[in-house]
Symmetry: D2
Subunit: 340 residues, 4 copies
C-alpha cells in the first residue's frame, strides 16, 4: 500500500492498552500509519516507540489532535481525560477511537457525543470483545436467526486476579471497570436495549476491596425490551485463570462459547484426565480481538462506514453500569430510565 | 435376602412417578418389598402391578397406612393429599418418603413435619437430583473443600416441552413446580441457607401460559447466609432437550456438571461436527437417581440413619419458591424471613 | 409375563462372566427364566444362586443340556469345553449362547458350527461390544450411509491392568484373548471381511509376559475386501483405566466413539482443568452391553430370528486372531486364506 | 533492533510456501531482514514483494547465494533444485533453511549434508509441525517423563482435498509428499529411530490417483529402536477438513492432541449439538507454526545454536518414506537398513 493511501493515526496515551493498539497498527494493519504518539512520559515512550518504528513522540495530545497531517486519533489516556480529548478531536475534524469507558459521568458522555455528532466524524468505543472470534460467531448465529428469538443470556466473566487497591479506588467500581464489558456484550448479543437491572455484590475475595467501597463478586440480572432476560456473574479472582463464557438461549436452540486454551492436548494419567487451563488473561485471550477492532475501525474510515461499536454503545453500557451500582447499593432493581 | 429382613413398603399413588418408585423397589432394591399399592384406579393399577409382581392393590391409602404389616409408606399421590397422609402415617408410626413438594402451604408443611417429629419416624422428600451422579460429585467436591469457599453458583434447568395448560393452572406456578428443584440444588451444593430471592419471569414460549398467570422463562438470584450468590435460569421449552447443568465457583476453583448424552460419538461431516443431544427428559436423565434416592431411603431405614433429604429441606425449598413467586409478582427482592 | 411364555435357560459355568449373565437374565430380562446353573463348584455356586433366586444348581452340564424343560443354554465354562458343549446342546435341540472364543482350534469351531447348522438351532457368540451404545451408534451411521464408503478404521483398546501370568499362559495369547474383540469390532463396523493381517507385538509392560511367549503391547493392521484398512492398538496396561475408542472414517465423514466416564463434571483449579478418568474396566464400561446382548439373544429366540452375532462371526474373529499371531511371530503380513 | 544486527536473508522460490516465509520474516521476525528474493518469475514476484516491502527480486538464486551481504538462505524452490542449492550455499558459507523434502534421492541428500557439515554452516529442514503448539506440548510431556516410556504412537493426518494429478505425478507419491510429515512427527515425539516400516496403500478417493501409480488412503506402522510402535493413517480427502491429531501412549499415561477449530462455540438445536469443523487446511492450522519455525531458525543463527530440525531429521524422514513406498509396493515389512 502506498503511504499516501494510509490512514494517518495519532495514538494518545501509551500505557498497556495504548501500546497494544500501536503495535497492532504498526505490525498488522497495513492500511494505517502511526504518525505520532502522545504521552506524558515522552522519554520512556520514545525509547519504546523507536524499536517498533514510530519516530514521533510528543507530550501534548492537543498538538497531535491539531496536526493537519493526522486523520484519526486513538484515545488511550486515563478515563477522566477522554471527554475533553473527544471534544477537541471532533472539533478538529478527526475520526476517533476511544477506549472504554468514554467517561464515568453520563452527562459528560452526552456532551462529548453531541460534539462528535455535530462534527460528523466517525467514533468507535473500545469494546474489543465484540470482535472476539467466539462471541462474534454467537452474534452472527443470533442475527441469522439460528437461535430464534432470544430468551435467556448467561455471561460468566472472571479475572485471574484482582487489580491493585489503588485501581479499585479510582476505577468507579466493579460494575464500571469490569461488568461494563458484559453489559455491552449482553446488548450486542441480544440486539436489544436493557430496561431494568438488579445487581448483588459481595466481598468474598479480599476484604480490602470492601473497605474501599467496592465488591469483588457480583451477579447482575438484566431485563431487555424484547423480553429477554440475562444473568451476569463476575469474580475478581478465578484461580484457574481468565474465565470468559457466554450462552444465548432462544426459541430455536442455544449457542455457548467456551473458553479458549493454549493447546487442545488432553492428558490421561493415573490421577486424572486433564487439559490446559484457559488462556491466562485478557492480553492472551483477546489478543486477536484487539487487532480486529482496530482493523475494523481503519476499514470504516477507509470505506466511510459506521463503526460497529458506536458512541451510543459506550453511553448505554455506562448507563447500565451506573444503574447496577445503584441497584447493588440500594438493594433493589433499578429501571434504566431512572438514571437517564 | 430373607423376606423377613426386608423393609415392607406401601406405595400410595401409582401415577408416573409412583410407578417409577414401585419398579425400582421391586427390581433394583432387594432390601425392600412392595407389599401393597394404593391408588384410586384399582383395576388399571392391578393389571399393571401384577406384571411386575406386586399382588395387593387397594383404593384406600389409610388401609395401607394402618396395616401393621407395613414398615414405610412412599407417598406419590397428588400434592394436596400429602400433608394429611404424612400426618396419618406418622401417627401410625410408619417411616415416610414423600414426593415433592410436601405441600404448597408452608404452615401445612410445618404442621405435618411436627407430627413427623413427634412420632419420631424417618422422613425423606423426593428431591431426586441430589442423587444424580454429576451433582453428587460436585457436592462432594464442595464438601471436601476442593472448590474452597463457595462464591457463585449457576444453575441451568430447562425442560424440552411445556406441560399441559391444565398442569400449569394447578401446579402453583413455575417456581413451585420446576424451580423448586433448583432451589433445593442450590441449598444442597452450597450447604447454606438462602436469605434473599429476586426472581424475574416472562412469557416467551407460549402466551397461554401467561393467560393462566404463570411464566415460562425465568431467572432467579439467591443470596446465601455464607455470602455465596446464585443464578438460576429456567425455560419450559429447550428445543434440543433437557438441559441440566450446574456450576459451583469458589475460592479454589470451579466445578461444572455438563449434560449427559445417549452416546459419546462425535460425527464429522462436510456440514458440521456434531454429537448427540442431551438425554431427552427427566425419566432418561434422572433414571439412576430415582433408584439411588429410594435405595438411600431404604438404607436409612435399615441402618436407622437420618435421610439425606429431610423435611426441613422440603420446607425450605418451598419457602424459597413462595418468596420467588412473590418477588416476580411484586418486582422486588424478597427476604425469606418475610414469608416465614 | 406368564411363566409358560418365558424362555427357560440353563447357564453353564458360573465364573465372573457367567454370574453377570445369570444376574441379567434374572433381574433385567423378564422374558427369560434361569431354570438351572451348572458349575463344578456346586456348593459355592448354590449359596450365591439362592440369593438372587435361582434354586437349581448342578455339577454336570450334560444334565442341564438334556433336560427337556430347558429351551436354551448359555455357555460360560472354560474355552476348551465350549466345542463339546455346543455339539451336545445342538444335538439336544437347544438354542445356544456361547462366550467367546468358541474354541482356539479353527477346525473344532467348524465341526461345532456344522452340528449347530445341522440341528437348526440358534447360535450367538458373546461379542458383547457390538451391543455397546457408542459402537452400535457408529455401526448404524455406517449402515445408514452417513459416513459413506468406509476407508479407514482405527480401534484403540487398552486394559487397566494385565491379567495374571497364569491367565496369559493359557489364554492363547493377546491376539486371542484381547484383540479378538477388536477383530470382531472391525468386521462389525465395516460390514466387510478381512483378507490380510499384519501384527507387531512387543513386551513393554511386564517382562514376565514375554517370558511365557506373549506380548503386552501390539499393533495390528487389517485389509478388508471392500478396500478399507484398519489399525488396532492394544496395551495390557493403561494406567488411567479402560480405554475403548473407535473411529470409522469414510467418503462422507468420520464417526468417533470416545470413552465413557463416571460423571460429566469438569473441575478447574490452580493446577489444571480435569475430569473423570474413563470407566475403570469392562464390567463398568460394558455393563449395559451385557444386558443388551442377552436381551437380544432372548428376543431372537422368542421371535425366531437370527442372532446379530453368529457362529461365522465367532469363527472369523478367531481366524484373524490366528493369522495375527502367525504374523507377529513370523514378522510378515499373513493372508487369511493361508490359515483357512 | 538496529539493522546491522539483523540476520540478512535471501529467500529462493516465492511460491506458496516461499511467500509464507517471506511474510513471516518481514512482519513477525524483527531479528531478520529479507534482503532479496530469487524466483524465475521476476516480474510477478516483484509486484507482490514490493507491497510487503521487499525491494530486491532477482531470477538467479546463485546470485543471492554468492552475495556477501547475505547471511542465510531459505530454500523454497522445487524439490529437485534443493540439493544443488544447498551445496552452493554451504560452499558460500551461508546458513541454510530448506523446505522438506531435502531431496527424493537419499544419496543426494547425503552428499548435500556432507557439504553442509564440511562448511560448518547451520542447516534446518522445514518440518514446521514440530513447532505446532499442540504437538510441541506433547513432545515436552514425553521429554519431561510425564507419559513415561513411550509404548504406542497414533497419528492421524488427512487433507481436505487431493492435490492435482499433476502434483501427484511428480511428488514422489503420498509417502514422500504427505506421510513424510508424520514420519518426522513420530521420530520427534518418541525421540527414537525407526527400524522397520510396514505400509498399506489403497485407492479409494479418486481412481485417477491410482492410474498414475499412487495411493490416496494409507496406513503405515513403524517400529522404533526403543520398542515403541506407531500407526499412521492418511487420506487425501477428509470432507470435514484438515484432520491433524496425534496420541502418545506410555507407561505413565496418554497425551492426545485434538484438532484446532475456528471457535469454541457449541450450538444445540432441535437437530443436533454441533460445533465448528477443524481449521480448513495447513495454512490455517499451521499458520503459527510457520512463524515459530522461522523464528527458531533465526534465533539459532543469532545465538549460534543447533536448529531443532537437523539435516539428519530430513534424511531419516525421507528414508522412512522410501521404505514405506517399497513396503506398500512389495507388500511386506521393510527394515530401514535395507534402503540405507
Amino acid at each position: 500500500m502506498s503511504d499516501k493511501d494510509k490512514i494517518r493515526v495519532a495514538v494518545i496515551g501509551a500505557g498497556r492498552i495504548g501500546k497494544i493498539h500501536i503495535e497492532n497498527l504498526v505490525n498488522k494493519i497495513p492500511e494505517a500509519e502511526v504518525v505520532c504518539v502522545a504521552d506524558i512520559q515522552v522519554d520512556k515512550t520514545e525509547e519504546w516507540a523507536k524499536k517498533i518504528g514510530v519516530e514521533r513522540v510528543i507530550s501534548d495530545p492537543t498538538e497531535a489532535i491539531q496536526d493537519p497531517n493526522i486523520d484519526a486519533v486513538v484515545i488511550c489516556s486515563p478515563t477522566n481525560t477522554h471527554a475533553d480529548l473527544i471534544i477537541k478531536a471532533a472539533k478538529a475534524g478527526k475520526d476517533i477511537f476511544c477506549e472504554k469507558p468514554i467517561d464515568r459521568d453520563l452527562s459528560r458522555i452526552e456532551t462529548a457525543l453531541e460534539e462528535v455528532k455535530d462534527a460528523g466524524v466517525k467514533f468507535q468505543v473500545g469494546f474489543n470483545r465484540r470482535f472476539d472470534h467466539n462471541f462474534r460467531k454467537i452474534r452472527l448465529l443470533v442475527k441469522d436467526g439460528e437461535i430464534g428469538d432470544v430468551h435467556i443470556v448467561n455471561i460468566t466473566s472472571r479475572d485471574p486476579n484482582p487489580p491493585s487497591i489503588e485501581y479499585v479506588k479510582s476505577s468507579g467500581g466493579i460494575f464500571v471497570d469490569m461488568t461494563i464489558h458484559d453489559f455491552d456484550m449482553a446488548r450486542y448479543l441480544t440486539g436489544s436495549e436493557v430496561i431494568k437491572v438488579y445487581a448483588v455484590g459481595n466481598v468474598l475475595v479480599d476484604p480490602k476491596i470492601g473497605e474501599v467501597g467496592d465488591y469483588d463478586t457480583i451477579i447482575a440480572t438484566l431485563e431487555f425490551e424484547n423480553g429477554a432476560i440475562c444473568t451476569i456473574d463476575n469474580s475478581r479472582k478465578a484461580v484457574y485463570g481468565y474465565d470468559q463464557r457466554v450462552e444465548v438461549f432462544g426459541s430455536k436452540g442455544s449457542a455457548i462459547a467456551y473458553n479458549d486454551r493454549p493447546t487442545n492436548v488432553v492428558v490421561s494419567t493415573q490421577d486424572a484426565v486433564y487439559m490446559d487451563k484457559p488462556l491466562y488473561f485478557f492480553l492472551e485471550r483477546y489478543k486477536e480481538s484487539f487487532v480486529q477492532e482496530m482493523q475494523d475501525f481503519i476499514d470504516c474510515l477507509k470505506n466511510n462506514e459506521e463503526p460497529l461499536v458506536t458512541g451510543k454503545d459506550g453511553f448505554q453500557a455506562m448507563a447500565i453500569a451506573v444503574a447496577a451500582t445503584k441497584s447493588a447499593k440500594e438493594k433493589r432493581p433499578v429501571r434504566l430510565e431512572e438514571i437517564l
